[in-house]
Each structure stands twice: as structure tokens, then as C-alpha cells.
């Protein structure tokens, strides 16, 4: 009997593996399509040749302009889109599990609004690009530290305390952002702040790419290492503790990792909403709720999603649509669908 169940379990794992493989294929396809499309289209053969020329000795049949577009404009942009998509999706997946609430997204701890205030303040004070990124990162971390400090005052209800503190701090930071916009110069600084926060991959630079790559990769690896403990955490404080999980440690690692990924993404590309809500839901529909499968699936699907949306944002009209607007157009109706579905279930 045991062998029969073992075979069935293996079969289910294999099903998850097939889905993962398909997501990987989609990721690779989206990666190359994003490279080829844009205001300066590049044919697939040329693209492969240009990319391969860095490794192999190939005769150059393309212009220097093509090479500039591929390596200096599109490569950083496609890569950063992939990293931010993966990072925001995984943040959402982790927050939803730790807070045991499928409606939670990376904004819950106030890290997005905190990062927004940090960067707006940097722009208002006329800081340089790097300083603005650092301010954004510090703003995000400050919001999380504040949320955790407030939540600690409610030791008997740690999860509820965190969520309520997150809502309160987010609201506080939103008001601060409104105040910064109010005092900003309407001709120069205000449009700059507005465009920065709207969520776009247009103005991303190599330093952003390095920051995102290092922090999102490191956080993803750590979160993948504690995948089983994350599963048990979804049972809630009482049961997870009784099963031997150090809930404070795991919750701490999960929140720090997810917040770092959100903060670094916001610092690089502004506020890109809804990705952290939509992708984890789609992933659970495809491979179930087990973190052993959802983490890799989320990384692939999240990055594919943002690469595709970014490609659409820069090809659909002559002037580029900021990606944050598009993700909201997709995310808001999806959220509505989730609420209605939940309502029907109960």
C-alpha cells in the first residue's frame, strides 16, 4: 500500500515539475521576445548572433547601433524587469503565508509607501540619483521597523498587530507623501516625483540592476532554504510552535527577506503594484500551496509576467505607458475576481 501511495505522490510531484518546466520555457521565451521587441525592433537571427558574439567569434553583420540597443538599453531593462517581477511576486507569496491571508501583498508592511516617501524626499531635497535610491531603501526599511515596533506592543496577537500596524504606517506615509507633493515645486519637482513613483522601468540604470540582482537573488535563496518551515507557518502560531517551528525566527527571516526585495524594487522602479498579489494566486492555482513548488514557480512566473507587461508598455503606443499603470489595470480586476470567488466559497 505504501508503495502505491508513494507512486501517486511521485506522480503529483512530477505534475508540479512539468508545470515548472513549462514556466521555465515561458520565461526563456518572454526573455528573448522582450529583447526583440521595442521601438527599435531586432530580428531573432540578429538578436541571437549579437548575444552569441560576446562568447563566440562571429562576423559582425549588424550596426554598432544594434549592439548598443541590445547591451546598453535592452539587456539591463529586461534583466531588471525579470528580477523585480520575481522579487515582488515572491514577497507577496511569503507575506501571504506568514500572515495567513491570501489578500495580503507587499504593501502590507508599509515598505512600498515608505520607499516612496524616501525617494520623494530625496527628489525634493535635490539629491543625486544614488542618494535617492538609498533614501528609498531607507524609507522602506524605516516603515518596516516602525510597523514591527508598533506590533510588538500587541504580543498576544502578533499577526493581527503587524497587519494593523502596517495599515496605520502606510496611511501615515501616504499622508507624508501628499505633504511632500504639496510643498514641491509644481513646475519641476512635482512631475519628477509623480513620474518616479508611478512605477516604470524607463529610467533604470546598471547600479539598480546590480542592487536588485544581488538582494533579490540572496533573499530568494534564503527563503527557498526555509520552504518547509514556511509551509508549517501557514498553520498559525499555535500549531506551528507545537510542531517545533521557531515561529519568531522564521517570521523574522521571511519578513526581512520579503521587505528587502520590495524596497530594492521600489528604489529601482517606483511603485509597481498588484504583482505581489496576482502572481502568487496564479501560482497556487497551478502547483498548489506547497512552498517547495510555489517558490520556484513564483520566480519564473513573476519575472515572465513583468517582462511581458514591460514589453507591452513600450510597444503598444508610440509614447511609453508606465508599467505601474498597466499592472494596476490587470491587478485591480483580478483582485475583484478573487473577492467574488472567496465570497462564493463561504
Amino acid at each position: 500500500m505504501t508503495t502505491r501511495i508513494g507512486a501517486k505522490t511521485k506522480e503529483q510531484d512530477r505534475k508540479a515539475d512539468v508545470v515548472l518546466l513549462l514556466l521555465l520555457v515561458a520565461f526563456v521565451a518572454a526573455f528573448f521576445v522582450s529583447f526583440a521587441l521595442g521601438r527599435y525592433p531586432i530580428g531573432p537571427t540578429t538578436l541571437v548572433k549579437v548575444l552569441a558574439s560576446r562568447i563566440f567569434d562571429i562576423e559582425r553583420t549588424w550596426t554598432a547601433q544594434v549592439e548598443t540597443v541590445v547591451f546598453n538599453i535592452r539587456l539591463p531593462r529586461v534583466l531588471i524587469g525579470a528580477f523585480i517581477g520575481a522579487g515582488l511576486s515572491l514577497s507577496g507569496l511569503v507575506y501571504q503565508g506568514v500572515f495567513r491571508n491570501p489578500m495580503v501583498s507587499p504593501d502590507v508592511l508599509g515598505s512600498t509607501s515608505g520607499a516612496g516617501v524616501g525617494s520623494a524626499l530625496g527628489i525634493l531635497l535635490g539629491m543625486g540619483y544614488l542618494a535617492i535610491s538609498a533614501m528609498s531603501f531607507l524609507g522602506g526599511l524605516a516603515a518596516v521597523v516602525l510597523v514591527v515596533m508598533v506590533a510588538r506592543r500587541v504580543p498576544s496577537q502578533p499577526v493581527l498587530g503587524l497587519v494593523l500596524a502596517g495599515i496605520m504606517i502606510s496611511s501615515l506615509f501616504s499622508s507624508t507623501l501628499s505633504f511632500i507633493k504639496l510643498v514641491a515645486d509644481t513646475d519641476d519637482v512635482l512631475p519628477q516625483i509623480t513620474y518616479y513613483l508611478i512605477g516604470s522601468l524607463t529610467s533604470t540604470r546598471t547600479s539598480d540592476l546590480v542592487g536588485c540582482a544581488v538582494i533579490i537573488s540572496a533573499s530568494s535563496i534564503v527563503l527557498y532554504m526555509i520552504r518547509w518551515q514556511l509551509n508549517v507557518m501557514t498553520l498559525g502560531e499555535e500549531e506551528a510552535t507545537s510542531l517545533g517551528v521557531d515561529t519568531r525566527l522564521i517570521r523574522g527571516i521571511a519578513i526581512v527577506g520579503a521587505t528587502l526585495m520590495t524596497a530594492v524594487s521600489t528604489a529601482a522602479a517606483g511603485m509597481i503594484g498588484w504583482v505581489g498579489l496576482v502572481i502568487p494566486h496564479l501560482v497556487r492555482m497551478l502547483v498548489g500551496a506547497d512552498y517547495r513548488h510555489t517558490i520556484p514557480a513564483c520566480l519564473f512566473l513573476g519575472s515572465t509576467f513583468l517582462m511581458v507587461v514591460d514589453t507591452v508598455s513600450r510597444t503598444i503606443t508610440t509614447s511609453e505607458i508606465p508599467i505601474g499603470i498597466l499592472t494596476s489595470f490587470i491587478g485591480a480586476p483580478f483582485f475583484l475576481y478573487l473577492i467574488i470567488r472567496e465570497g462564493r466559497r463561504t
Binding site: I5, F99, W228, Q229, E238, E239, S242, G288
Partner: protein, 257 residues
């Protein structure tokens, strides 16, 4: 295997003791029922034992080892908890849920392997849950879900089982089945400590009853020692007549509204 609780004291606000100098000693094979009115301290006692609350004073020893200073994982190796109902944030299959019972035998960074899988299957077989292995837990009936929680506790490998009101959300037949399951586990050598509000079930199934009142141990004994109308009437502040019918205790309230 022994569980010794000595002078355990706990207070939420530092003023009123919710557990007041609790001293109890348990041995393997006992079916212990904790009885007490709402707020008597049953849940607080469980939460202290599970490490969710930190006792203000007293000690707990398992086989002579200081239980309260153990890590959460070490404690889980000795003591399993079966909640009244489990509401995970997301839906898992029966086998994955039972596999979660093996977590305390894993390091923080590892996942269950073949050894853990075998333990989970053995637990499923023990409760006749093999046909349900790949069903989602939330598609099962209340009684089946209770069995999944029992299987998870057995997969945990702990010899002390804490049941929090295991029958309160079940239909009558499933209540009896659950109590029989707990009894068979104690006959295998497990120590079961069960909190309940059902006085009749406590008198009929438990090998030992502990009555808590105002955070203190009010009485501690077997059914035959405590099944006394006047004693139970004073405990519940209500006239109760206890009769024995074909070997079963029946409690009849004498006051009706």
C-alpha cells in the same frame, strides 16, 4: 515517561493569577480529562506547556528533564498538540498535512525525505486514512479532519498528546469515535491530556479527571471518586444528579429554565 508540573503560576496582567500554583503529575497510558468552567485556566495551561506563554513561576519536567527551558523543537519531540480545528492559511493534501507532523525531526533548512514520508504513511495507515492521502483536507468531513490531526500528532512521534476540546465541533457518532481513538492511543502507552466541557464523556472515558477552578486544581481523581452529585453540583454551581445506567454515567441537570 512522566510529566511533572510543579507550582506552575501564570498571570496575563501581573495581578490576577490565571494559573495559581498548579501541581500535577502524569504517567504514560493515562487518559486525563481537564474539566473546568470557562476561564478556569485549561487553555492557559496548554499554552504554557506548548511554550506559547511563559510561566511566571514553577517548573515542568518530562522524564526528569526541565521542559520549560527546552527549545521549541525539543518540546515538540515530547509533546504534540491536537487543536479543536485546524484552519491553515492555504489548502494542503492529507499526506502533506500529516508530513508536517515530522517537522520537529528536521533541521530548519531541510525538507522531509523518505524517512519522514514512511512515518507519515504509517500514521495514515494507523487511522485508516490511506484512501484519503491525496484528498485536500478541507474537502473532508469534520470527523475525518480530526483523524488527520491525530495522524499528524502520531507522525510527530511525541508520547504526550494534548487535545483541545476534540469533540466540540463533531456530530455525536464522531464524538464517540474520537474518544475511542484517544482511548486506544492511551492503551498503546500514549499520555493523553484532553480538555473538554462534556462532563458525561469525561466521566465515561477518562481514567483520571482533573477539575480546575479559578486557576487552581479543585479536584483530581478517577470517575468513581468524583462522580458524586453533591460534589459536581458545587463545582458547577448547579444541581446535578449523577446516575449510573448500564455501566455508563449519566448527568441530569435538576434546574431547567
Amino acid at each position: 515517561m512522566t510529566l511533572d508540573i510543579r507550582s506552575l503560576t501564570f498571570s496575563y496582567d501581573g495581578k490576577r493569577n490565571v494559573l495559581d500554583d498548579i501541581s500535577l503529575s502524569f504517567e504514560e497510558g493515562q487518559f486525563v480529562v481537564l474539566l473546568g468552567r470557562n476561564g478556569a485556566g485549561k487553555t492557559t495551561l496548554f499554552r504554557n506547556l506548548l511554550g506559547l506563554l511563559k510561566a511566571d513561576g514553577g517548573s515542568v519536567h518530562v522524564d526528569g528533564r526541565d521542559f520549560l527551558s527546552m527549545s521549541v523543537r525539543e518540546r515538540a519531540g515530547y509533546m504534540a498538540y491536537i487543536p479543536q480545528e485546524s484552519h491553515p492559511g492555504f489548502s494542503y493534501s492529507v499526506i502533506t498535512s500529516v508530513l508536517m507532523g515530522t517537522t520537529s525531526s528536521l533541521s530548519t533548512l531541510s525538507c522531509p525525505g523518505k524517512k519522514e514520508m514512511d512515518r507519515a504513511y504509517a500514521a495514515l495507515e494507523r487511522f485508516g486514512l490511506v484512501p484519503f492521502a491525496h484528498r485536500m483536507v478541507d474537502s473532508l468531513s469534520g470527523g475525518e479532519r480530526q483523524l488527520v490531526l491525530c495522524a499528524r500528532a502520531i507522525a510527530q512521534g511525541s508520547r504526550i498528546l494534548l487535545f483541545d476540546e476534540p469533540t466540540s465541533s463533531l456530530d455525536w457518532a464522531n464524538q464517540i469515535r474520537t474518544l475511542d481513538t484517544i482511548r486506544s492511543l492511551t492503551r498503546e502507552g500514549y499520555l493523553a491530556i484532553v480538555s473538554t466541557h462534556n462532563l458525561e464523556q469525561a466521566l465515561n472515558w477518562a481514567t483520571r479527571l482533573v477539575l480546575l477552578k479559578g486557576g487552581r486544581v479543585h479536584a483530581d481523581g478517577t470517575s468513581s471518586e468524583l462522580a458524586c452529585s453533591c460534589f459536581l453540583s458545587s463545582f458547577y454551581d448547579m444541581d446535578i444528579r449523577v446516575e449510573k445506567l448500564e455501566g455508563h454515567y449519566v448527568c441530569i441537570p435538576q434546574e431547567t429554565v
